[in-house]
C-alpha cells in the first residue's frame, strides 16, 4: 500500500457507505462528510471497513467524529497509522 493510493481507497470506502457516485456527487478532499449525510452508524461502518481494508488499527485517540470529517482527515489518520505514528491532533 503506497501513501498515494490511500485517498482513492478511502473515497471508495466512503462511497460504499454514502453512495455519492450514484448520485453524481464529486467528493472533494475537504468536503465535510457529516454535512453530506454521514451518521454515527455510517461512520462506524466506515471505520471498520477502513481498518479491515488497510489492515491497520487506528489509535484510540483518533476514534472520534473529527477524524472522519473529510477524505483528507481520514487519509491523514490512515497514513499515520500505516507509518506506525500516532496521529496526534
Amino acid at each position: 500500500m503506497t501513501d498515494a493510493s490511500t485517498p482513492s481507497i478511502v473515497r471508495k470506502l466512503i462511497d460504499q457507505q454514502l453512495n455519492f457516485v450514484a448520485h453524481g456527487l464529486q467528493l472533494k478532499d475537504d468536503d465535510n462528510l457529516w454535512d453530506l449525510g454521514m451518521t454515527s452508524l455510517t461512520c462506524l461502518g466506515l471505520m471498520l471497513s477502513i481498518e479491515e481494508t488497510f489492515d491497520v488499527e487506528l489509535p484510540e485517540e483518533v476514534l472520534k467524529e473529527s477524524t472522519f470529517r473529510t477524505v483528507a482527515s481520514i487519509t491523514e489518520a490512515v497514513d499515520a497509522a500505516l507509518e506506525g505514528v500516532l496521529a496526534e491532533r
Binding site: L41, L44, L48, L63
Partner: protein, 501 residues
Amino acid sequence: MVSESAERPQQAELVIVGNGALGLFLAQELTERGAGSIAIVGPSTSETGASRAAGAMLGCFGETTTESLRTDASRVRFELGVAAHDRWPAVLDGLEEFSRTGRPLLSAPDTHVVLNSIGGELDTVNYQAIRAALDEYDKPWQEVDPHDIPGFNPRLDTRSLSTMHLPTEGAVDARGVMEALERKLRAAGVSFVDATVSRLVSSDDVVTGVELEDGRVIEGQNVVVAAGIQSEALVRTVSEDIDLVPTFPGLGFAMIARRSGGDPFRSVVRTPNRGFACGLHVVPQGGGLEYYGATNRLVDTISGVTWMADVRFLAQYSMQQLDERAASHEVLRWLSGNRPVTLDGFPLIGWLPPAGLYLMTGTYRDGFHCAPLLAEHVANELQGKPGIIDPMFSPTREPIATRTVEWSINEYVEHNLAAWFETGAEAAPQMTTPQLTEYYRTRCVQLYDQLNIDYALGPDILWYTQGSLRGARRVSRYLRKHGGTSTPRPETARVGSGDAR
C-alpha cells in the same frame, strides 16, 4: 476502612487480586476451611470498584426479567442467584460480631416491587416475569396496597399500578458487610496489601505471583484475579493470547441520603429491571440513611466519575417515583462503581491457560449477592475438589448465545422505548409509539449491518456499541473471530418486519 497491615508479605500460598466482595468472600471460605496463607491485594481507596458502591439487594427474584428463564443458559445463571440467596442468613450470622456500624448488617428484611406507568411496556412484562418466577420456584409473594408500604410516597403522576411484597428478599449494608468481613479476615491472619497490582508475574507459562506498582513482587502458588472490571487488563499482562470473553465497564451511580422527615422506608422498594438498567430502588441502610440507585451505562474507560445526566436522572426519579419528600433529604455520599459486564452477560469463573491463574469476575449486577456461593465453588476448585456450579462460565468459552438477532433487535427497541418514556422524552403529537419503534428498529438493523455479525447482543451492549467507535471495534473484532461472521445476516432481521410494534 480498617487500618492497614504494618508489613507486606513477600509470599502467600494464595494471592487474591481484588478486595471486593468476590475476593473477600473467597478468602473467608478458604480460612474457614483452614487453607494456607492468603494475601489480598487491592487499593483500600478504590473509587471504581462495584462492591463498595453496591445497593446489595439480596434479590434474585426482584431482578427477574423476561430473559431470566427463557433459555437453559439463563436459567442456570438465575439459579446461581437462588442458591446464593440461601447462604446469606449464615453469612450474616458469622459477620455480625465483626460489624462496628451499630446497625444490623441486614438493612432490610423484605422487598416491595412497584409497577408504575412511567417505564413503558418493559416494566409490565418484567413485573409479570417476577411473579411467574416466584410461582415457579414456589417462593412467597403477595399483592399489597401501595399505600401500606412504609416510606413510599410517589408523586401522583407515577403512582403504583400494582405492588407485590416479597417477604424473603431484603438487602444488606454493603459497606458494613465489607468492613466486617475485612475485620474478620484480619483476625484470622489474612494479609491485606493496600496496593495496586501492575502486572501478573509468570515463568514458563506458570503464574507465580503479582508485581505491585512500586515494583515489589508477592509470590503465590496460585493467583486468583477477582478485580472486577480491572481483571481483563490484568490477565492480559501475562499474555495477549488468552482468549477471554470481553468485559466492559458498566458505570453506575447511586446516592446515600439522610432522611429529613416523613416515614422512613423499612423495606427495599424497587421497580422491576427496566431500560438498560436495574430499575429504580431505595434500600434502607439503618440509622436514618437510605440508598437511592442506580444508573447503568457501558463506557469505554474505567472511571469514578459521575455524569450530571445521571445525577439528574436519579434525583428526579427518586423524588418522582419513590418519595417526593426526598427533595429535602441530605445527600451524604455519592457512590459510583464499574460493574464488570461481559459481552454475553454471563460471569467469567474458572482456571485460565497459564497454570496457577484463576479468574473470578463478570458478575455484572449481582456479584455481591452471589459472592458467598461463588466463593464456595472457587475454593473447591482451588483445592482440587469438584465445583458446585456449571462449568459453562469458563472465561475462555465461546460467547453464550441466548437469542436470535431478530429477538435482540426487539429487545433493543423495548429497552429504548422504556428509557424514552421513563426520561419523560416527548415527540410531536403526531409521532406515535409505532413510529418511535420503527426509528429504534431501523437503527438497530443498520447497526447489525455495519458490525456484520451474526451473534445476537444484549440491549446494553448494543446501546454501547452504537455510540462508541472503540466499543464497536472491540465487539466487531472479537465476534468476527468467535462465531461472528462475514456472511450476510439472516433474512429475519430486516427493517419493517415490525414484531416489536
